[in-house]
């Protein structure tokens, strides 16, 4: 049987389009999707911009992936360091956001001292285990929480970085099986709605310069933060 040219060409176009759509859908579904953590708003805070709603986020950094968004079995890479409970964050616009991070991981020397200091936080400080500091020992950094985005006309710049000191080797073990964490708290003020990314600037991954693996894979040491 002989098929008409137009039919064959139409089939090719449709078939190709279907294949490409399927490929796109597969890739899209296969990409990391993590549950969103919304900051809880409790009361207001006095800021240089006046009284603003006060939102709170509670995060943690773990030496493995058992406690984060990858499930208790740790997902594909249980031994990778990770942020928890998730890496997809949302905070309200025009608010003060106070972030508390329980840092359970060990650490070492950071490449760039700049990230051993808090930047873009309220007062340029952070508190480590209740003590307000303007920097931590660059030779004893566990992780950092560094928030940024390219300059864009539709959303305000938001550069925030906080350093999380490493847990000492001899720290006592907690009930959850990890060593007693360093608790770091810092606040920043959001403006108009926008989308940002954050990542860790301490070399805590695998491969070359320890920036591969969890450092180069979304959902471990990096994520997104949506304002508004």
């Amino acid at each position: 049987m002989r098929i008409r040219t137009g039919v064959a060409v139409g089939t090719a176009v449709l078939g190709g389009a279907v294949v490409i759509t399927l490929l796109g859908t597969t890739l899209s579904l296969a990409s990391e999707h993590s549950p969103e953590l919304k900051a809880a708003v409790r009361g207001t805070a006095g800021t240089p911009q006046g009284r603003l709603p006060h939102a709170f986020l509670h995060l943690a950094t773990y030496p493995d992936s058992m406690a984060g968004e990858h499930g208790s079995d740790g997902g594909a890479h249980p031994d990778w360091v990770s942020y928890g409970p998730t890496t997809t964050l949302q905070v309200p616009a025009h608010s003060e956001v106070t972030v508390t991070i329980d840092q359970y991981d060990s650490g070492g020397t950071i490449y760039n001292d700049y990230f051993a200091h808090p930047h873009g936080t309220v007062g340029g400080t952070e508190t480590v285990n209740g003590k307000t500091v303007t920097g931590i020992d660059p030779d004893n950094v566990g992780h950092t929480f560094t928030l940024h985005m390219f300059p864009n006309s539709t959303q305000p710049d938001l550069f925030v970085s906080a350093a999380l000191p490493a847990v000492a080797d001899n720290a006592p073990t907690e009930k959850n099986g990890y060593q007693k964490p360093n608790v770091v708290t810092f606040s920043f003020i959001t403006g108009a709605p926008g989308s940002y990314i954050w990542n860790c600037e301490f070399p805590c991954g695998t491969e070359y310069q320890s920036f591969g693996g969890p450092m180069s894979t979304k959902g471990y040491m990096s994520g997104t933060l949506k304002v508004g």
């Binding site: 064959a8 990409s31 070359y208």
Partner: protein, 701 residues
Amino acid sequence: MTDIQATPTAVTPSRPGGLMGRLNIGTGVLGGLILMGIFWLIAYATLSHGPGDTDSFGSDRVICVTMVGWLLGFMIGIGAFNGPVRWLLGKDLATEEHQFLAGKDQGIGRYFRYTTDHKVVGIQYLVLTMTLFFVGGSLAMMIRTDLITPGSHLFGLQTYNAVVGLHGIIMIIATIIMVTGPFGNFIMPIMIGARDMAFPRLNALSLWLIVPAVPVLLSAAFMGGIPTGWTAYAPLSNEAPPGMDAYLMTIITFAISVALSGMNITVTAITMRARGLSVVRLPIFVWGVVTASLLGLVAFPLFMTAQILEGLDRTAGTVFYVAQNGGSVWLYQNLFWLMGHPEVYVILIPGFCAVLELAPVFARKPLFSYRTAVVGIAGIVGLSGLVWAHHMYITGWAPDLGGPFMLTTEMISVPTGLLILVLVGTIWRGNVWTRLPMMAGYAMIWNFIIGGVTGIYLSDIPVDQALNGSLFVTAHFHYTLMGGAFVGGIAGLSYWFPKMTGRMLNEKWGAIGFWTSQAGFQVTFMSLFAIGLAGEPRRVGDFPLTFAAGNTVATIGAYVIMTGMLIYLGTLVWSWKYGEAAPPNPWGAKTLEWQTPTPVPLENFEVLPVVTSDFYGYGEPEPALDPEPVGVPAQPAMAAAVPVPDTVPESVPADAVTSAPVTSAAVAAGETAVPPQVAATGEQEPGEDPAGAGTAKEEEQ
């Protein structure tokens, strides 16, 4: 698998082939899987943990060894080593076995075997190339879809980077083989009056090395992708996930294949030319294929070296590219571009020369200034080895060499300009027959001028400071490689399609598809030029609002390209199966491949031709001697030079179409060695251009 002997129309009494008769792509896959499993077990047991527990290279070692197992097993399974082993054992092949290996009387099954016939290898390359283009093109659509608006994260940045790398390397591999593979193998030996390539088994090897490398490359998608772009700059590649191992194993395999086919094509063109086919009578396409192959032969071992060093860095803890431990990132970049710049001419020259080859046919004029064309090709080849560092102007490596590299880079515009002169001079006052091959040639002129001019900006160091690493570069090399070389490949495919498949390509739909894709191409890459000039870096998965309009337009253009390419592909497949039967010489061309019957017999020529003039004498008075070399009695000594004695009857063309079950009455007529165009008209679709019937009588003399 379709490997079962579907047509046991054995002409010879006993079925030859022995072990080879039972090996095919199916046994190749089986062998590959088995050896892959064995290698994995061994590697997992012995190599997954190195000395000390800080060794992070274990999994990469296991993956690399497993991939070697697959590649080796596939090659054993398909019978790549049977010949060498038999030769080592002192058992030479009998004539029947040679003919069996060449795919004699095996129908469609020979396309799935380690078949040595250059025509089979050519078709295999063609299908492989089209498959790669389909995959690479689909990935391009993923890229453009993801970039349709800022922040539209269809897959996220990680998948985006992985897709960009895969798209790049698949397209580079496909464009390297797209002309020298199908046409260099199928057409070039016939063009020079040879019965096969110089090393038929190496020819099969160079093809079958790529086939198992494709799944290796695609497996990267499941191992974190190739998030480094196709350039795979170290040390980003040292940091990358195991998908990088897939990349480097593929490159190592592919480099071997390119070097082998380069050597084979070169030796064939040097030693197997017909009597009288002196170097100055060589069709220009042969020049293009041979010089590009030679260039590949020189360039690709460097690529292989670069990736072997990278492999050692990734698996054994060496520090070739780790600056913190005394390595150098510039070492990788130099090795890479020492391959990379010759490589763009490996892609470009054959595509351009395909257009130069068909331009005289469609303009009905001699090729304008043949020697200028040869000088142009030689100039490009000579200079292409001296320009690599123009990719490294802004790296900080050897700033004092900026001037010299700027000079060599700009000098290459002179021989390239000569090729354009030859093309334009050939068109000048010709009777331009505007069929698809020629029209693709016109599109190539348009695109190539734009690609060339934008290359001039990039060759200038101060301007390159603004443009390097931006989408301007992306648009520039798409204009040269896709708009120039790839369109040249399409011209070649449209031109040689009747000879290779025995069918005419449907002109109307082919043209619709081609021009649709060309329109989209202009839209997409002009937009990329614009946003590149405005400052958008290349390979970014997201962009500020400034670039939103340009990206959206580029994506719309990309969908037009996709539609056009799919129409062309559909036309191609339809024409291959149902197109009207092609006469032996539908274009009225003078080169040797058009003087053979269609389908081309197993050994191409009943008697080897003797060449008495070049092939571009359109509109010139016939020389005293018969200009049509076929039919000139060959010296018996010439014919005896091939393994098969001339006494073997050649009247049965051993093409797939004739012996496969799908045989149509029209093509079966070819068995009587009569050009099959007679029966073709009966099958013609109403309203179609009756090209075949019309051209039948135009066949030269």
